[in-house]
């Protein structure tokens, strides 16, 4: 068995503090030991990934291995951020999972067009959120190979 990807950092882009809290709780509930970092909108997300602004000091740290992305965020929304990341020569390799309340067909089509790796509608109960995080963790950190070595800015 592959060794669990303990070194992989998860980045959650989510403007809602309650949802950040819930996702963190769900990670804890799944006993996923991964570091989780938070950004609150699309601009912060890009700053984080490109080590700009408040994130300049992180220049040496590895990039996140997985991004959980909310679609409706202030300043720069998830759709715009997704487009920029997926057209960036290095950042485009990072798997992105959209986690949103939107069930709109056009959001699903458009984000897959932009190269999203999975699209998940936020579950209504905490129990199903835990279940989803469990499955995600198992899939992305145990089953699939991630392009870990190449993920440097």
């Amino acid at each position: 068995m592959k060794k669990p990807g303990k070194m992989i950092t998860i980045l959650l882009a989510e403007d809602d503090p309650d949802d950040r809290q819930l996702t963190e709780d769900a990670l804890a509930e799944c006993r996923l030991a991964n570091d989780i970092h938070f950004v609150e909108d699309g601009e912060q997300l890009l700053d984080y990934l490109l080590r700009r602004g408040q994130y300049t000091a992180m220049a040496k740290d590895p990039l996140p291995g997985l991004i959980l992305l909310d679609l409706n965020m202030p300043r720069k929304d998830g759709r715009e951020a997704l487009k920029e990341i997926k057209t960036h020569p290095d950042l485009r390799r990072i798997p992105i999972i959209v986690l949103t309340t939107s069930k709109a067909e056009e959001d699903i089509l458009r984000t897959y067009d932009l190269g999203v790796n999975s699209y998940i509608t936020k579950p209504v109960t905490f129990a199903s959120l835990v279940e989803i995080i469990k499955v995600l963790g198992r899939y992305w950190f145990e089953i699939v190979e991630l392009p870990g070595g190449g993920l440097k800015t």
């Binding site: 809602d16 309650d18 819930l22 709780d25 309340t101 936020k122 209504v124 109960t125 905490f126 129990a127 959120l129």
Partner: protein
């Protein structure tokens, strides 16, 4: 407006019914005057009299001008606008009676019409003293035997009332459309944005129960259960409202829909439920109509689903779907006068039925005839069904008696009108 009949070069109407006179044939856009075999003096006098009477009786303002747009003749009602007798205008021009800019526009129109030998109908402003009005003017060149333009005939009608009414109507339509759109946006946005906090209440309630259930005690847990059931119900209501508003906000283009196919699909979707209650769906031959495919599916799904739901406990549900096509007279107020080909779709069941005094009620949003304990659901199904039917310019009604089953009758056009043909 019809182009007036031929006139003579002196401005008198050609007496088309005078004995011995050949009828004149003229182009419809100019007035050709011909020499004619010597009319008797009396015939001329009669003709003149008829002409005067006609011109004076017309509700329109009438004027004749010469090649230089100088008045040769006006009727009393035209002169009356200026508080004058007709003779007082003869020899004068628009410049003497109207504001300069307006008079110049009139004269430019006159010149163009006379130069081009072509009558025109013009909608324009007309200002007399303090009074401004909209008028519709027909101006036509008067042409002599040699094809020379001698002058111009003008007839105009005050259309101010019509213009105002058109404007008011346009305003109303625009306001109605705006308010409809706002209402739709409101329903959609409200239901969408209301979901978020509700989800939080539900999720944190769940967390509270999981983490603090010892502290809460039995009574506390019971309260929490009730709160969570209520949020669940509210989520259901909001979802229903969202679906209801989507009928029009997310509408798709019309296409040819084979209703036999739709019934087959819906029956397959509901197969498990139909088998579970030992039910049967019997569909006759149904037509293909122009409609929104997803709407037709939802319509039949709701009607068949309802029939399964409101079955008699002791009777296996049998649902019969039939269709007849017929001509219906156009709806009152409709622009089209042609009868429309309509399909009348009936969905009958042998279920519990209902008292017909509730017929209107069952099609309203969130209206129910039973308690939630008896039958699940929020009461949106038939409201959505009616909205779909109305979106297709159709009608839905129901016939029933308590305990004797119900028949839902949907009338839909076979072909949809294009947007501009609709009311």
């Amino acid at each position: 407006m019809n182009t007036p009949g031929p006139t003579q070069n002196d401005g008198t109407a050609a007496p088309s019914s005078t004995p011995g006179q050949p009828r004149e044939t003229t182009s419809s856009t100019e007035f050709v005057c011909r020499d004619r075999s010597q009319p008797t003096e009396e015939a001329l006098r009669h003709s003149e009299l008829r002409f005067r009477t006609l011109i004076e009786c017309l509700p329109q303002r009438v004027f004749f001008k010469d090649r230089n747009s100088v008045f040769l003749f006006v009727n009393s009602i035209f002169a009356g606008d200026f508080g004058l007798k007709p003779d007082a205008l003869v020899g004068k021009s628009d410049l003497d009676f109207f504001p300069k800019e307006l008079a110049e526009k009139y004269r430019a129109d006159d010149k163009r019409i006379m130069d081009q030998h072509k009558a025109e109908t013009i909608e324009e402003m007309n200002i007399v003293g303090e009074m401004a009005r909209y008028v519709e003017v027909v101006k036509a060149p008067v042409v002599d035997n040699n094809g020379e333009v001698m002058g111009l005939l003008g007839v105009f009608t005050d259309i101010t009332d019509r213009k105002m009414a058109e404007g008011t109507l346009k305003d109303f339509a625009a306001r109605l459309e705006r308010s409809n759109r706002e209402l739709q946006d409101f329903a959609y946005v409200a239901s969408h944005d209301l979901q978020e906090p509700l989800r939080k209440v539900s999720v944190f309630g769940e967390r509270l129960k999981a983490k603090c259930s010892e502290v809460l005690g039995d009574e506390g847990k019971d309260y929490l259960d009730r709160m969570q059931k209520a949020t669940g119900r509210m989520q259901g209501l909001i979802n229903d409202l969202l679906n209801f508003s989507r009928v029009t906000t997310k509408s798709q283009p019309f296409a040819a829909v084979d209703l036999n196919e739709v019934v087959r699909e819906v029956t397959t979707d509901l197969e498990a439920r139909i088998e579970q209650v030992g039910g049967r769906v019997e569909a006759g031959q149904l037509p293909t109509i122009e409609a929104e495919p997803l709407h037709m599916r939802q319509l039949l799904q709701n009607l068949i689903g309802n029939a399964l739901k409101f079955r008699r406990p002791d009777t296996k549900p049998v649902i019969k779907i039939t269709a007849v096509i017929g001509k219906h007279p156009p709806a009152p107020g409709s622009r089209s006068t042609a009868p429309r080909e309509m399909v009348r779709l009936s969905v009958s069941d042998n279920g519990i039925g209902f008292d017909e005094k509730y017929t209107e009620r069952i099609f309203q949003v969130f209206q129910r005839l039973h308690s939630r304990a008896e039958y699940e659901g929020t009461g949106i199904g038939l409201a959505i069904t009616r909205k779909i039917v109305e979106h297709h310019s159709g009608e839905i009604t129901a016939k029933s008696k308590p305990g004797e089953g119900a028949t839902f009758i949907v009338t839909l056009p076979v072909k949809q009108r294009k947007a501009d043909e609709r009311l």
